[in-house]
């Protein structure tokens, strides 16, 4: 499927929303790929971190369907190394928030096994609510 590119998309509401929530200029990224090269959890992702920001640059809302934005652990390795000073974890957070506002819930609380809720620290469970639930 050929992606339609136009000013209404690349400067459209989705791009503006991502830029506003994340505080990042999407076109500051020149796609060098260093974030993807050093990401410690990249193996589990369906899109490279650099592809996530690329799709956001192009205004492709399909990026919200990627598992990458949920797998990103905000470890900050990429932002520490980014030559253009782009805070990619903030961008990932923005994409998660947009996704959650659309009603997507990645975490089914009821499905969590009781042993896990006993062992996992309270803080992590609350953090999980914030990150994965609307």
């Amino acid at each position: 499927m050929r992606v339609q590119i136009s000013i209404d998309k690349v400067r459209g509401p989705f791009v503006r929303q991502v830029e506003e929530i994340s505080g990042q200029g999407l076109l500051d990224c020149n796609q060098c790929g260093k974030c993807s090269a050093g990401c410690p959890v990249v193996a589990a992702m369906d899109l490279l971190p650099s592809q996530v920001i690329r799709m956001a640059q192009l205004g492709m809302e399909e990026v919200l369907e990627s598992n990458t934005i949920w797998i990103c652990a905000s470890c900050l390795t990429c932002v520490t190394r980014c030559p253009k000073g782009v805070d990619l974890p903030r961008l990932m957070e923005a994409l998660r928030q947009i996704s959650l506002r659309q009603g997507v819930a990645e975490l089914d609380l009821g499905a969590l096994p009781p042993e896990l809720t006993k062992e996992v620290p309270q803080l992590a469970i609350v953090g999980g609510f914030r990150k994965y639930i609307k």
């Binding site: 050929r2 992606v3 590119i5 690349v10 020149n30 796609q31 799709m55 640059q57």
Partner: protein, 565 residues
């Protein structure tokens, strides 16, 4: 019988690590014409050269062979040393036992040593027959001709003229300024450009030492370095000049050669130079060619026809990445509500402040760069549809554009090939003038006295053009600062008794150095033009042509040594 000295260099371990240099000295020392043979660790060092000089006196030598590295490295060094000891420098030869011996036969020291002996022996045979030659002295006409009145030609003319020498500037168009006059502005300092060029043109036109011949062309060039006679279409008499600067610049690539991009078929697909003309008028000039409407979405296609050995040109025109960034920024300045897209293969922004400029285009002007070459451009309802790809996301993309700007390659000036023949200066397969050496002699052509400036030699931007033009001018001034030019004497000569004036040599000579004398009726050699290539020697049916110190006698004797006759 000659008294030849042979000096064998160890070059540290470069030679001596493989070749048994002492054995070479011993074997060559037995040659009847060798009066002395020795070795030394670094013959090119001061003590090494001293050894050569002192041995000439001590052993009363009348010829020298230095067995060392390539003659390209140190032939001049040793010829100077020999001359300092009172020997004619043309009776010194270099036997290359490093590049052609120790380095290439590292694993066979025994045979390498044998080859070193043989190589050195051939040179001994050659020196035995070497004539004591004297270099030619040529006079210099201290006036320069500059061909082309663009920024390159004007800069070269000004630099030569400002040093006090007269310059004739020939321009095929009716005005000076070249392609720079067609630009809206330059990158890094956009608004300064028109004023910059106007001032240069004024300086040239007002200069007391520069004569401008506009609307004129060079039709014929005779003579040689320091003494050219040039026919220009505007003049009745030939111009006499000592040096020529070629600054013929470039011509645009025909859009019709890009049918897949709708070139010359779709009105709203234009080339970069046309877009420059539109930008010159600001927002008012940016109306689409088809309907005059201000474009909102503009697609720039880089490398349109470039880096395409199959259908276009194989080379990169070097300036387009920066020009496109500038054009996209200026479009956004004039049409802030618009959007610019740039399709690229990669961004080549090498230069001071250049990459920062491209980054600013992306960050500050929201210009979207898409990595991939556009496949086709075709007519939409009211727009042109661009089919490309974004390889970074792996997505094929489509943009409905109001205007498409193609960054097409710079072609060499359409007059370059003919002018090259007129000047006997070589052009490369793309039609750009060939420099004498790609690294170390970039402003000289292969023809002595003909220098190169600007895009005539290869695509480059304005600052680089200006640098090269000043470099060419410096080479001209270097010539003009000498009273006479010194020319190597190892050129072709004619044995007059054998010459039947058949003219085979005249036809064979690629440099126009040969002619039949109208009165004496024998072939002559213009020593200033001869490049010692030997074409006439092989062409001559009577063996009347020879090259000084490369005579058939010498070459055959050397061959005899190798085959053991």
């Amino acid at each position: 019988m000659s008294r030849i000295g042979v000096f064998i260099c160890h070059c540290g371990i470069n030679i001596a690590g493989t070749v048994d240099v002492e054995r070479v000295a011993e074997e060559i020392g037995q040659h009847p014409q060798v009066a002395y043979a020795t070795t030394y660790s670094y013959m090119c060092s001061d003590p090494g050269q001293q050894l050569v000089r002192e041995s000439i006196a001590e052993y009363d030598l009348d010829g020298v062979v230095v067995a060392a590295c390539s003659p390209a490295m140190h032939e001049a060094t040793f010829r100077r040393a020999v001359a300092a000891a009172g020997l004619n420098p043309y009776r010194c030869e270099i036997a290359n036992i490093r590049e052609q011996c120790s380095w290439v036969h590292e694993h066979e020291p025994g045979r390498a040593t044998q080859k070193a002996v043989e190589t050195t022996r051939t040179c001994v045979e050659k020196v035995a027959w070497d004539e004591a030659l004297e270099p030619f002295h040529l006079s210099v006409i201290k006036r320069a001709l500059v061909i082309g009145g663009g920024i390159a030609g004007m800069q070269a003319a000004l630099d030569v003229a400002n040093a006090g020498f007269p310059v004739v500037l020939v321009e095929r168009e009716g005005r000076l300024g070249g392609k720079m006059a067609a630009l809206s502005g330059t990158y890094l300092n956009f608004s300064a450009a028109p004023g910059l060029l106007e001032r240069k043109v004024e300086q040239v036109l007002d200069h007391p030492h520069i004569e401008v011949l506009a609307g004129a062309q060079v039709t014929e060039v005779e003579g040689y370095v320091g003494n050219f006679a040039v026919r220009v279409s505007a003049l009745a008499d030939p111009l006499e000049v000592g040096a020529i600067v070629v600054a013929t610049g470039w011509d645009p690539y025909p859009l019709s050669r890009l049918p897949e991009y709708g070139g010359s078929e779709l009105a709203d697909v234009v080339d970069g130079l046309t877009f420059e003309g539109m930008l010159q008028e600001g927002r008012a000039g940016l109306g689409r060619p088809s309907d005059g409407r201000t474009p909102r979405e503009v697609v720039f296609i880089q490398c349109a026809g470039s880096r395409d050995p199959e259908r276009g040109v194989p080379y990169c025109s070097k300036v387009c990445c920066m020009v496109v960034a500038k054009q996209a920024i200026m479009f956004k300045e004039y049409v802030p509500e618009g959007q610019a897209y740039v399709f690229y293969i990669d961004i080549r922004s090498a230069g001071k402040g250049y990459d920062e400029y491209v980054q600013r285009a992306m960050e500050d002007h929201d210009i979207l760069y898409l990595r991939g070459k556009v496949s086709k451009v075709f007519r939409g309802r009211d727009q042109v549809i661009v089919w490309g790809v974004d390889t970074l996301s792996g997505q094929p993309v489509e943009v409905a554009a109001d205007l498409v700007v193609l960054a097409t390659p710079m072609l060499p000036s359409r007059q370059a090939v003919t002018l090259g023949q007129t000047l006997r200066a070589a052009v490369d397969q793309s039609g750009f003038f060939s420099e004498a050496h790609p690294k170390l002699r970039p402003v000289e052509s292969l023809t002595a006295g003909v220098f190169l400036a600007g895009v005539a030699q290869g695509p480059k931007d304005i600052p680089e053009t200006v640098s090269q033009a000043s470099g060419a001018a410096a080479k001209v001034l270097q010539m003009f600062s000498q009273e006479v030019l010194i020319q190597e004497p190892t050129v072709a000569c004619v044995i007059e008794q054998f010459c039947s004036a058949c003219g085979a040599c005249v036809e064979a000579c690629p440099y126009g150095a040969r002619a039949i004398h109208p009165l004496w009726h024998i072939a002559t050699v213009n020593a200033a033009l001869c490049q010692s290539c030997g074409a006439c020697v092989t062409a001559c049916p009577n063996k009347a042509c020879q090259i000084h110190n490369w005579t058939p006698k010498q070459i055959l004797t050397m061959a005899d040594v190798l085959v053991g006759v």
